[in-house]
């Protein structure tokens, strides 16, 4: 369960001065649900997700993940979440196996547990054939699988995806989409950001439309369509954001 209420974050920017990247954002996402954060470039999606992942500290408002507040106990929140973004890279000189078990250790898992989990994930994603090759030598699709494996090695109850399909081809995107569905099936709480409407429509149980740091609409896709009086998500999005 993820509960976000009135989350706010301001950056000091050299040129623009104070930038309120996230401004009183609230929403909730239950286990087994996929929540889509939709917004144009610079809307504040990444910043919101970074606040949830504890990479950034909130300035005001709260986010509670599995009952733990990110401001009060970020250390504990960290083991509750898995994080994957389109920009997350790999250690080129390590093999997928070394890479994934490194993160397993960082999450405090012991060797046998890591081995067991890794074996299961590698089978699920069909990664065994390249598990011992250096990451720098892998194709983009293979790399994406390594990133996925890394993000779930500690079996977190909540998953956060920040535009996970940017820069991927259809096949690799499909892997990610399948993976998100799998997470939902396992009862994980999933939040993901995107600006691709078709992706949101296919995956999300609920969506929030965010623009200039503010939440403009929040609910199921049907609710959003009714609210905007449109019959597809793209029109609704443009109507809401354009206002």
């Amino acid at each position: 369960m993820i509960q976000v209420s009135a989350l706010t974050k301001t950056f000091k920017d050299k040129k623009r001065g104070l930038v309120r990247a996230v401004d009183g954002v609230s929403f909730t996402c239950a286990p087994g649900e996929v929540y889509g954060l939709l917004g144009p470039n610079g809307a504040g999606k990444t910043t919101t997700l970074r606040l949830l992942s504890t990479a950034l500290r909130p300035e005001a408002g709260t986010a509670v993940i599995n009952g733990v507040d990110v401001s009060e106990n970020p250390q504990k929140v960290r083991s509750q979440i898995g994080f994957l973004s389109g920009n997350t890279g790999l250690y080129g000189r390590l093999t997928p196996m070394e890479m994934v078990s490194y993160f397993g250790r960082l999450y405090g898992m012991n060797t046998s547990l890591i081995k067991e989990r890794m074996d299961r994930i590698f089978s699920m994603l069909d990664m065994h054939s390249f598990a011992g090759r250096r990451c720098e030598k892998l194709s983009t699709g293979m790399k994406q699988k390594v990133s996925i494996a890394r993000s779930v090695i500690h079996d977190p109850p909540a998953m956060i995806f920040d535009e996970p399909t940017t820069g991927l081809d259809v096949i690799s995107s499909r892997t990610i989409v399948e993976f998100i569905r799998q997470c939902r099936k396992e009862g994980k709480t999933v939040i993901f950001s995107t600006h691709i409407m078709s992706e949101a429509r296919r995956l999300c149980d609920k969506v929030g439309i965010i623009h200039k740091g503010k939440m403009y609409a929040d609910g199921t896709i049907d609710e959003i369509l009714t609210q905007a009086g449109c019959d597809n998500l793209e029109d609704a999005f443009i109507k809401i954001v354009g206002e």
Partner: protein, 404 residues
């Protein structure tokens, strides 16, 4: 702070770093191949140049040969390593030009009626012109001066004998000079001056690439964020990464020291064997241990400063350009402090880099000044800890980690 987390981070980072070609070049290739190669090449070149000059005969031009006494002329002509050309007085200008242009090596100008003046025991001057900047010319002058000196000694002896005076009157007593400076000190002054400088540079080089890769590199790859949101603390990451940089730098320093001592010893042996020059290079184990002792806190400072620069930088390239500037700021003081005229004192002992280079220089020259060593160790350790704390501060700061 959990030791097990630091160990996990250290293990991963050292594996990763040791697979990095750039790191390996500075950590292994430069100390083990480039340094000995350079030193041996240098000694070969020196030896071949010196021995060539030694073997080749010097080209001597004599102006006013008609005024030379016969026996002196014979001595010059018969000398096996001189190639002599005789000219008359009018050619002095022409031959001076030949000397400056390197066509001849030395020029003797015999004054008018020199032979008569010698005969009649009147004062006179014979001019020897040479070019001190040319090693060939210097050698030629040395050879010629010896002949002239011998001739002069012979004349003095003749004149004394004619007057029935013993030659002993010229030297009422002997002066016996004894140089008490240990050989180590003489050579130490020269080679020792170079050693600290090279070792300090190698420490820096050994730390440079791992440092860039471990923070700025993580930002560039987009892996840093995944570390920040893992349960290991920022302090644990900083310490793990810091220790990796210290390790690679220490390996580079250790290998460079070994390789420098080995190749300098080789160089000295060659010079002694080939040229009979008097010098030795003996580094006592005590000296080597001291060098290692003083270098360690300095490595600690380098690691901390490089890591904080790397944390601040947004990309690999940006880190590299900051570090180029930093490089200057370290190499320059290291170089200046080994120039003659700089003496270690308490002020210098407190300043990182300068203190280490001066202590090493003194130690190699044979003197260890423990009170300065103590001050330097203390000061550098304090700076190293401060730099590490600074790294952690920056690693915890959002505006540095997510700098745009």
């Amino acid at each position: 702070m959990q030791i097990s987390n630091v160990a996990t981070i250290f293990k991963k980072e050292i594996t990763d770093t040791l697979r990095d070609r750039r790191t390996l070049i500075f950590m292994l290739l430069v100390p083990l191949v480039a340094i000995p190669g350079l030193m041996m090449g240098m000694s070969k070149l020196m030896i071949s140049q010196i021995s060539r000059v030694e073997q080749e005969s010097s080209r001597v031009a004599v102006i006013g040969q008609e005024h030379l006494p016969e026996d002196l002329k014979a001595a010059i002509s018969e000398s096996s390593n001189l190639e002599v050309y005789y000219y008359v007085g009018s050619e002095e200008e022409e031959q001076t030009r030949a000397l400056t242009e390197g066509e001849i090596d030395v020029l003797i100008v015999v004054p008018d009626s020199f032979a008569t003046l010698i005969e009649t025991e009147q004062p006179s001057t014979i001019a020897v012109k040479y070019d001190q900047a040319e090693i060939r010319s210097e050698k030629a002058e040395e050879r010629l001066e010896k002949i002239l000196q011998d001739y002069q000694d012979k004349l003095v002896l003749n004149r004394l004998t004619q007057r029935d005076i013993s030659a002993g009157i010229l030297e009422p007593f002997d002066i016996e000079l004894e140089d008490v400076a240990p050989m180590q000190k003489l050579v130490g002054e020269r080679l020792g001056a170079m050693l600290p400088y090279l070792i300090i540079i190698m420490c820096f080089m050994g730390a440079m690439y791992p440092a860039i890769d471990l923070a700025a590199g993580e930002k560039e790859r987009g892996t840093l964020e995944t570390l920040l949101i893992s349960p290991a603390t920022r302090g644990e990451f900083v310490i793990g990464k810091y220790l990796v940089i210290v390790t690679t730098s220490a390996i580079a320093a250790l290998l460079s020291l070994g390789s420098l001592v080995f190749s300098m010893t080789y160089m000295v042996d060659q010079l002694v064997a080939q040229l009979g020059t008097m010098m030795t290079l003996e580094l006592e184990p005590k000296t080597v241990l001291l060098v290692l002792l003083v270098i360690l806190p300095l490595i600690g400072i380098f690691a901390g400063v490089l890591l904080s620069v790397s944390i601040f930088a947004r990309s690999f390239k940006e880190a590299q350009s900051y570090i180029t500037v930093l490089n200057m700021a370290i190499i320059l003081p290291a170089f200046v402090s080994i120039l003659p005229g700089f003496e270690l004192d308490y002020t210098f002992a407190v300043i990182p880099v300068i203190n280490v280079s001066m202590i090493m220089k003194e130690a190699i020259a044979g003197s260890i000044l423990w009170h300065y060593v103590f001050v330097a160790l203390l000061s550098n350790s304090v700076f190293a800890v401060l730099s590490l704390l600074f790294c952690r501060k920056w690693f915890e700061r959002e505006s540095v980690i997510f700098r745009m």
